[in-house]
């Protein structure tokens, strides 16, 4: 057995509702509300930064579809999209995943925060620091194109009738 529980679930298609070559959509084995779904990159990655851009794109596109499905079938009054990236964010497993959580009134789930008061100075320094790192944002890595597979022509085992008669010539 591999060390990662979720790699194992992906491999065995356990709880899986949909998959393509990059991602797996499954029912969360640890649901926060009934109908809690998760989307995982098939290739093992601990945090989001290890997942290629084109796979992240795929995760979000399918999260949106899954969210719509939850609205339509469970009569959910809302959905939460959540990626816990790193231990301080509450990430429990070493395989990164995107949560799609259907929400209902009185579901006792309480996600949120108290706004913090931050001085104008601190805001500005934080802004500058972040801006220094956002230069590369927006240029996305592209998936390498797969080599085109050419089917080889079948080898002619039989003697070619067009050259056969040539052999008769002494």
């Amino acid at each position: 057995m591999t060390e990662c529980t979720f790699c194992e679930l992906i491999k065995r298609k356990a709880n899986v509702l949909f998959e393509n070559e990059k991602i797996s959509l499954m029912l969360s084995p640890e649901p926060a509300t009934p109908g809690h779904l998760i989307i995982l990159p098939k290739k093992h990655a601990t945090i989001l930064e290890q997942v290629p851009d084109y796979t992240v794109k795929e995760m979000f596109i399918h999260a949106n579809k899954a969210s719509t499905a939850l609205f339509e079938t469970l009569g959910a009054q809302g959905t939460n999209i959540l990626i816990q990236n790193g231990e301080p964010s509450g990430q429990r497993h070493n395989h990164v995943m995107l949560h799609i959580i259907p929400r209902f009134e009185n579901d006792k789930l309480n996600l949120g925060w108290q706004p913090k008061k931050i001085s104008e100075d601190e805001m500005s320094t934080v802004e500058l620091k972040i801006k220094q790192e956002t230069g590369a944002v927006g240029s996305f890595e592209k998936e390498k194109e797969k080599p085109i597979e050419i089917t080889k022509p079948k080898e002619i085992t039989k003697e070619d009738y067009r050259v056969k008669h040539l052999k008769r010539i002494p």
Binding site: N15, E49, A66, F71, I81, R103, L111, I130
Partner: protein, 241 residues
């Protein structure tokens, strides 16, 4: 009769449309043709980013694939930027669709929040107990929606529900057995296939050989004729003698 508000009217009313399109001042950290990222003025933590689509949408299901995918990729890169810039140990990427999910503004936004241990941000997920039967019932319920959205029926899709790790271990042995059986099956299939291929080859060979056969038959006839003639000659000669 109430008229549908025009996009301009919506934009005038929606403060986040104005922020996203640069009509209200903000601490902008990123912008492209589809989205704008600004610092939240009521942040959960210093560096809390709001990623806003420029087009007015209230909830995620109103967005097309291209926009959702773009927002996803930008959020990943902004998360990366936060980790580098603020030396934090993690980030939360969070969105609420609908008031029941905690949405307060009428404009969709994706929160990217830098995280530190003990920062009092409650984005941890509790776990409720659901039996395997409950899980199966949920799969049955959402299956039509999944089929509609993904074009695949999850029930035909070998959707096995597993509630916890104990079940996982129990099923492991079953799965191994099934895999072995499958392996045997595939081997049998392969054998059958190779047999078929051989048959096909023989057939094509036959067809190809027909011409040759005809030639060969002609040759045979010729040799027979020759034989006969030789015999005749020998008999004739003998008779003469």
């Amino acid at each position: 009769m109430q008229e549908q508000p025009t996009p301009e009217q919506i934009e005038q009313q929606c403060i986040f449309c104005q922020i996203a399109n640069g009509k209200v001042e903000s601490k902008k950290v990123y912008e492209d043709d589809k989205v704008t990222a600004v610092l939240d003025i009521n942040p959960a933590a210093p560096g809390h980013i709001l990623l806003l689509p420029k087009k007015h949408v209230s909830v995620m299901p109103q967005m097309d694939e291209e926009l959702v995918g773009h927002i996803g990729m930008v959020s990943k890169q902004l998360s990366q930027a936060l980790i580098k810039a603020l030396q934090v140990e993690g980030t939360s990427i969070f969105a609420a669709n609908g008031a029941a999910a905690g949405q307060r503004a009428p404009h969709f936004m994706l929160h990217i929040i830098p995280r530190k241990q003990g920062d009092n941000i409650n984005l941890q997920l509790p776990t409720i107990r659901l039996s395997k039967a409950d899980m199966n019932a949920i799969v049955q319920k959402i299956a039509p929606g999944i089929k509609k959205q993904f074009g695949v029926n999850p029930l035909e899709y070998s959707a096995k529900t597993i509630a916890d790790k104990e079940v996982l271990k129990k099923e492991e042995t079953e799965k191994e057995k099934a895999e072995e059986e499958k392996a045997v099956e595939t081997e049998i299939k392969k054998e059958e296939e190779t047999e078929k291929e051989q048959e096909k080859r023989e057939e094509t060979n036959k067809e190809n050989n027909e011409e040759n056969k005809e030639e060969a038959e002609k040759d045979k006839e010729e040799t027979e004729e020759e034989k006969i003639s030789l015999d005749d000659i020998s008999k004739f000669l003998a008779g003469e003698k």
